[in-house]
Symmetry: C2
Subunit: 334 residues, 2 copies
Amino acid sequence: MKKIGNTYCFEDPPRVLSYASTVGKKEGEGPLSRDFDYISDDNTFGEQSWEKAESRMMSMALERVLAKGSLTASQLGCILGGDLLNQCISTTFALRPSNVPFFGLYGACSTMAEGLLLAACLVDGEFESTACAITSSHFCSAERQYRYPLEYGGQRPQTAQWTATAAGAVILQKGGKGVKVTRATPGRIADPGVAAQANMGAAMALSAYQTLSRFFQDTKTCPTDYDLIVTGDLGRVGRQIVIELFQRDKIDIKPVYDDCGLMLYHGDQDVHAGGSGCGCSAAVLCSYLLKALEQKVLKKVLFCGTGALLSPTSANQGQTIPGICHLVCLEADH
Amino acid sequence: MKKIGNTYCFEDPPRVLSYASTVGKKEGEGPLSRDFDYISDDNTFGEQSWEKAESRMMSMALERVLAKGSLTASQLGCILGGDLLNQCISTTFALRPSNVPFFGLYGACSTMAEGLLLAACLVDGEFESTACAITSSHFCSAERQYRYPLEYGGQRPQTAQWTATAAGAVILQKGGKGVKVTRATPGRIADPGVAAQANMGAAMALSAYQTLSRFFQDTKTCPTDYDLIVTGDLGRVGRQIVIELFQRDKIDIKPVYDDCGLMLYHGDQDVHAGGSGCGCSAAVLCSYLLKALEQKVLKKVLFCGTGALLSPTSANQGQTIPGICHLVCLEADH
């Protein structure tokens, strides 16, 4: 490992052994439908509560990522994971039967990038020969916890994002021939002073811009050195702010820049400013993105997980919304 | 790094550069009062809400650990931290002004051990030259969120633990002369089927026993090879269960075994089964334990952070309480 500025450079890069995604009905009707491992018919995943449904969805992603990597749970080194529910119970109860060493994370919607980054460190540092990053979110459990009961039918402003019902899991290993994690830049908390809970894209955009800027500076690269730069999830509003922040620096990121919140749904799927939730960027990564890298349709991708580090309590107490963005550079095998 | 079984063995062990603890009034009246860096007069830490008070307490711990390590925030490699509040807002708002790369964790009361373990990996793997583990808990913010409003004056059973008002922070570095992190065993989720929220010590005891057993097996050592083994925080009930689980294996852990939840308070301080909360084991570590290791009063200590991975929602939905225990072996410099 070599650290340049803020960026970890993996000299013998950890490789993706396998990846899997399990999603809800609406996500399964989106543009990436063919790339998911499992699409639920009804969002309950056969469970009696939305929280249990979310856990079940995550445990299905774990089962599939293990099977695709030809590993049993007892052969897996460790799992790094978390979710949006209070005390991360989706993750706890999903992983409870696995008996795998577990590191709990809280990174809001940046959790997949945070987990992937730390998994890469544990594999690169030879602490583990395999490490899994996993996360989930569920529209119904998130609405109940963060906003209104579903039955209330609250109106949403156009800046609001739609919490994806989705889970994603990736297993990294040392060596092999898979997609490489070549670089990573840990995020810092950035708070542009946005207080509107229904405009989290705007709150997180600054952190995405800052992490990407640090990465470009550290690596002496520019946006066009990458086939695709994705944030996850800023949605329509946050994406536009990132584009404008880079324009001030005379950098045109637009031609190679997209957002997982916009990639997960069709424009007419009524998700307002786009998708969000830990599962959104995780499911886009663990379906289309890693498949395209595997097939060398994409060769170099910057995966930038963005999280809004608020709670209903902090919002009610008048706090603005701090954001964070962790960046992971993924490259196709040569 | 060498991994033996489940245990990471640091060949050139990361060292403690500095540590600091800030605590509330009750904790300041306990047996460790002389070892804390700051004791608040009134638990508000000068703030208008308990959540802001907890954040302020944590930011004071960060200020002090940086000052004691002669570092500025901009010189610190990264921070790993979390707390008990929904979405870990104590940590987010405490660290927001620091501008240090940040990894959010959720490990409930095991957070300090989890952070210390991952910080040791990042330093040992040369990803960072310094890394800080930090956490907090506050009696009043935890009561409001997990149990009853303080004004309600709810009665507590004798198995209940008292959430400590405390924060702790440690900075690890490569090289130097401080206390060494020589080994670490990541925890696995273990659920003995306890459903009583007011008996979390019993729920977590199994995970402590399992992690310690794995560590003893991996390292071919036994309890008497250590000056002190501490769990944090099982309290009186959970500690007794750990002793009995080891007795079944014909291992007598009792002579060298204590629990941070029992070390933080005097027996007559009305905390029922003992202290708990992320800040409890963090404050005991970042005061008495690290001081004793620094002064070589203790030479080898096993610090075992235990977390109960439940939420009020999971409890209300009839789920039992999964526990986790991360172990870190600390040794005095020779």
